[in-house]
Amino acid sequence: MMATRPNLVRDVAIAAVALIILLLLPYVWPSKMVNDLIIRVSAFALFATSLNLLVGYTGMVSFGHGMFFGFGAYAFGLSMQRLGVSIPMAFLITVVSSALLGLVVGAISIRLKDIYFSFITLAFQMLLYSTVIAWVPLTGGDQGLMGGIPRPPFLGIDLSIEAHRYAFAVTIMVIGLLILRQIVESPFGYTLRMIRDNSERATFLGINVFRAKLTAFVIAGVFGAIGGMVMALFVSGAYPEFVNWTMSGEGIFMIMLGGLSTFVGPAAGALILSLLNDVITRGTEHHGLFLGAVILLFALGLRKGVTDFVADWFRLRREASSRSGS
């Protein structure tokens, strides 16, 4: 019996349907708050899914992925503010520069194992954070990029209009997730899984583990940066908080909350955490207490991501039906 594997056509179809639904949503449910939420979730979904390429698919627990989210926001914002380029050009600059950052940080960090890898990524993130705070003339320091990010129209898209911004963000997210999906379902994606499962054995199959990990690190960095870029467009600025360690912490929580064994888990986690955050901050200033309690409940009680439960349920149902069928 061959396991059926998701093919590209099916994934594209699902993505197209999802995109159409998201694009129609504002007409069905015209709530600005829902729009805002979905834009933010789009940014976080790219961020969390790219982090899961490292954590879930490759087994590299990065504590510093927030570095790319923040870097993307700043690279994009600065290109728009300082260079005055078009949005597609700034997008390109963001992608290329974050890939370079990923290459340098990755080449150094990947040499380290386990917890040392985690810490050195965190250290690089904190170094970038310190730089952003201290390099006031360039970054605006703690105040972030001031004065807003210009949003000149391109190709008939005007991102200063809310509806355009919404459509742009969800389109970028859906395309980004589709590309990440392609990557994890490609031969390379399976190389990463093999490295995660048993990297020693992988080397005995002739796999260049360093090269594969570095490639994954760069790809994850680029998509993390694109997430940051979407966020920068939304808030019309870039802030040091994007580069702070808490960003990485939230990314990891999103993954865990949504489930790291399914592809859409991290995106689902991004949605849940954003909702949770909004509801909690709305109701209390002691949100640390509440969020902490929720996390504890999750870590000590559920111990699995939300989509893991769904996946388990499907599997059990399938097994039950195949059992009764045979």
Binding site: V61, K113, D114, S118, L289, L291, G292, L296
Partner: protein, 299 residues
């Protein structure tokens, strides 16, 4: 960058004395926190991200006890004892439930406690920052040694932390508890097969680590502003120290702390705008040259 100032300092006795003692004081307080962190990691293979919060709790407990008894020494003792107790509860009822599971689960439990403790501190002690004040014993003019300035309180702190380091070293190397702890770090299942309850050893290690952090918080309280979230920067610095020294190595933590202390104190003369960066740079270089830290075991 100001290399001239740095060479001037290195050739001047007064500057050397002042900067070396200031480096030592930074390093030794850091060591107390980092030692517990590295000890817990070495034995339990768990990264205790709440360690900074333990430090914060120690400082606040000291504040309260100092206010009640007006005795700095009682305050410090209470900080150590209180945080030790808290560490016990934390380990028994929360952390021990996620031993052996995903590292990320352990991280989440700690993350939750960082959030909860910060809020709890604000609820109990109020949102405004607090200052404990210097005990009258130490309200003395600083000493001048070879032209260098050495505050009496810091001299006291350096001596106390040195004694504590010595005591810690004796506990780890000379007592049965220490012997068992070192053995449990290497081979817990054999230790268990010899009739020792490793669960209790783990609790003991957590309590010891917590007490050290609490002690550090209490000791430093007179010269720190107390505020929710004060544990985080100390946590990051402790990570740097333990990673430089090698995770799990107490001697490494001592080495790393003193290095960081000296880098800060002399770095502030030579590279005043890049002190923070210097620490990260040092860490990156050491990890590149020796991926498991200076005294860490090759994993």
């Amino acid at each position: 960058m100001n290399l001239a100032a740095l060479t001037d300092c290195l050739t001047s006795a007064s500057c050397l004395v002042t900067q070396t003692t200031s480096g030592l004081i930074i390093g030794m307080l850091l060591f107390l926190v980092a030692a517990g962190l590295t000890l817990i990691f070495g034995v339990l293979k768990v990264v205790n991200f709440t360690h900074g919060s333990f430090y914060m709790l120690g400082a606040y407990l000291a504040l309260t006890v100092n206010g009640l008894t007006d005795s700095y020494f009682l305050a410090v003792l209470a900080a150590a004892a209180g945080v030790g107790l808290f560490a016990l509860v934390f380990e028994r009822f929360f952390m021990s439930k996620v031993y052996g599971s995903n590292v990320l689960m352990q991280l989440l439990v700690c993350y939750a406690f960082i959030l909860i403790l910060d809020d709890a501190v604000k609820i109990i002690w109020g949102p405004e920052f607090k200052s404990m004040g210097m005990a009258t014993v130490f309200q003395k003019p600083p000493l001048f040694i070879a032209g260098g300035i050495v505050p009496v309180f810091y001299l006291f702190l350096i001596i106390v932390t040195l004694i504590l380091s010595l005591v810690l070293w004796l506990i780890i190397t000379r007592t049965k508890f220490g012997t068992v702890v070192r053995a449990a770090a290497v081979n817990p299942s054999m230790v268990s097969a010899l009739g020792i309850n490793t669960g209790l050893v783990y609790s003991g290690v957590f309590v010891l680590g917590g007490m050290l952090a609490g002690l550090a918080g209490g000791l430093a309280a007179p010269v720190r502003s107390l505020t929710a979230g004060m544990g985080f920067s100390i946590l990051i610095e402790s990570f740097i120290v333990t990673v430089i020294g090698g995770m799990g190595s107490i001697a490494g933590a001592l080495l790393g702390s003193i290095m960081i202390g000296l880098v800060r104190s002399f770095g502030s003369i030579g590279f005043p705008l890049f002190v923070e960066g210097l620490m990260f740079l040092l860490m990156a270089i050491i990890l590149i040259l020796k991926p498991s830290g200076l005294l860490g075991k090759e994993g």
